[in-house]
């Protein structure tokens, strides 16, 4: 089976700081890949380069059989095939919860309002927020906002879902609901690349754990391999902080 996403020797610098130093990674369809690593190891930057929110300095990124690092590729078209959820939800405060969810359907895919709202309400129903469809996001708790952001990202059925530390800004008691939704999506076969510090969750849901350190992939493997018997001293040192 061909890969949904393939990165070949990707490099990225901000000024003189080299954030990604040659990343190669392949993600198969229905696979859940979890990126772990210290803050500043390049997890967020990696996710952003996949979504073309950051241009890369070298290497190639393939989405399906298309080289999306080619500057002639229309970035907007690529982004509409990839969903991303950010740490701070980034819901649009001037739009209702439902309009947030249906924005891409209506204004990127050109679905008419009635059909888009039906799909939007189904998604909100699923996360138990249908009764909040017409209110503004500031009425929701952090966990509710983040779940809304997740269904906003999957409303257009993207081929790939990127999750960038989506529980880091939440109170501990709100994390559970958000992770439960991610687990559901993973069980349904959504292809996911996520950066997280939730090691217990990573161990349970991930097909593969990728440990990033200073912009390189130091170690990767199944959760039992990486968590159970890490080969690299750096990985052991990093994981020890979570025990």
């Amino acid at each position: 089976m061909s890969a949904v996403l393939r990165l070949e020797d990707v490099h990225k610098s901000f000024g003189r700081t080299e954030v990604l130093r040659g990343i190669s990674l392949e993600v198969a369809a229905h696979e859940v890949v979890v990126l772990i690593g210290a803050s500043g190891s390049g997890k967020s930057t990696l996710l952003r380069t996949i979504n073309l929110l950051e241009p890369i300095d070298d290497g190639r990124v393939w989405l399906g059989d298309r080289d999306i690092s080619d500057p002639r590729v229309r970035a907007d078209a690529v982004r509409s095939r990839i969903g991303i959820v950010f740490q701070h939800y980034n819901l649009f405060p001037h739009l209702s919860v439902l309009d947030n969810v249906t924005l891409a359907l209506r204004h990127v895919q050109g679905v008419d309002r009635a059909a888009a709202e039906q799909r939007g309400l189904e998604l909100l129903e699923r996360i138990g927020l249908a009764s909040f469809a017409r209110v503004f996001p500031d009425r929701l708790s952090g966990g509710q906002q983040q779940r809304t952001a997740i269904v906003r990202a999957i409303a257009t059925n993207p081929e790939l879902l990127l999750l960038d530390e989506i529980t880091s800004a939440l109170d501990p008691e709100l994390v559970g609901d958000v992770l439960a939704l991610v687990r559901e999506l993973a069980d349904e076969g959504t292809t996911i690349v996520m950066a997280t510090h939730e090691m217990a969750f990573a161990r349970e849901v991930a097909d593969r754990i990728v440990f990033l350190d200073s912009g390189v992939i130091l170690e990767q493997g199944s959760p039992s391999e990486v968590f159970g018997a890490p080969r690299e001293p750096r990985t052991r040192e990093f994981l020890a902080r979570f025990l």
Binding site: L53, F86, N90, P93, L103, H107, R152
Partner: protein, 289 residues
């Protein structure tokens, strides 16, 4: 939510009741003090003015009730012209200002001339006094002889007002656009929205909300500057008053025009204050400082 219900049901403690009684006494006292000090202040000002040697003459030349009543119809007719000019100038400024602000956000090398033009425009017209713009437009544009017929002075005046105020208003819009957090733009682009849709659907609505109080303030300033179109010969409230003054040798008609302008401004000023307070309350949600 539940906290409110609990408080309703519970009888406050004696300490809390004592505090409330104390606060009530304090607020009654401060109301009385402010009323008394206002009265004293007004009386002192009034006595000072009416005891100046020239008060009797000033009173009869500026505040003559008979002249006030007789001048009112003509000044009012002129004032209606000011109102019409104001309506068109506000709409024109909002549209043109927004256009200039949008031009300045354009990326890409192709748009350099437009960006530069917009930047030069705001620099130029924020520096030029309105009265000079009025003369340049009022006498310059007819000189170009675009049309056979004479362009009415109020139309030229409106153009001059729009040119001057758009320069300020576009800067206000631009500040609003820059005040929208970059993460909002990022989120919109990540959904696949292009530059223009992001600007139209996500950035602009939030920017306009942020700068509405500042915009309303600019329009308050504009509502009094519409009186300046009289220099081009338009018979507005100011020119109407001038005609009345020339007939009666009494300055009361100017006071009539002034009163009308203030009456027009007051609702807009109150609306601006109310809206700013509402925005502030929403941003500070629950905190009292």
């Amino acid at each position: 939510m539940t906290g409110d219900l609990d408080q309703e049901a519970r009888r406050p403690s004696d300490i809390e009741l004592g505090r409330r009684a104390f606060r009530r006494r304090q607020s009654t006292r401060s109301v009385l003090v402010s009323v008394a000090s206002t009265i004293v202040f007004a009386v002192v000002v009034w006595l000072t003015i009416i005891n100046t040697p020239g008060w009797a003459r000033v009173q009869s030349t500026f505040f003559d009730p008979e002249v006030f009543v007789s001048a009112l119809p003509r000044v009012w007719d002129g004032f209606l012209l000011n109102l019409r000019v104001l309506v068109f100038a506000v709409i024109g400024t909002a549209v043109f200002g927004l256009l200039i602000a949008t031009l300045r956000t354009l990326r890409g090398a192709v748009f350099f001339p437009l960006r530069a033009l917009a930047a030069g425009y705001t620099d130029l017209f924020r520096g030029l006094p309105l009265i000079i713009v009025l003369y340049l437009v009022g006498y310059g544009i007819p000189g170009l002889r675009f049309t056979e017929e004479r362009i009415p002075a109020e139309v030229l005046g409106t153009i001059a007002l729009v040119l001057t105020y758009s320069a300020y208003v576009s800067e206000v819009f631009r500040a609003g656009i820059e005040a929208v957090h970059p993460s909002q733009r990022l989120a919109a682009r990540s959904l696949g929205l292009g530059h223009y849709k992001t600007l139209r659907l996500i950035v602009m609505p939030q920017a306009i909300r942020k700068v509405t109080p500042a915009l309303m303030n600019d329009f308050v300033a504009m509502q009094k500057d519409v009186g300046l179109i009289s220099v081009l010969g338009a018979v507005d409230a100011v020119r109407g008053a001038q005609i009345e003054v020339a007939a009666s040798f009494d300055y009361t008609p100017y006071v009539v025009a002034g009163v009308l302008f203030v009456l027009l401004a007051l609702p807009l000023i109150r609306l601006t204050d109310w809206y700013s307070a509402k925005l502030r309350a929403r941003e500070q949600m629950g905190s009292i400082v």
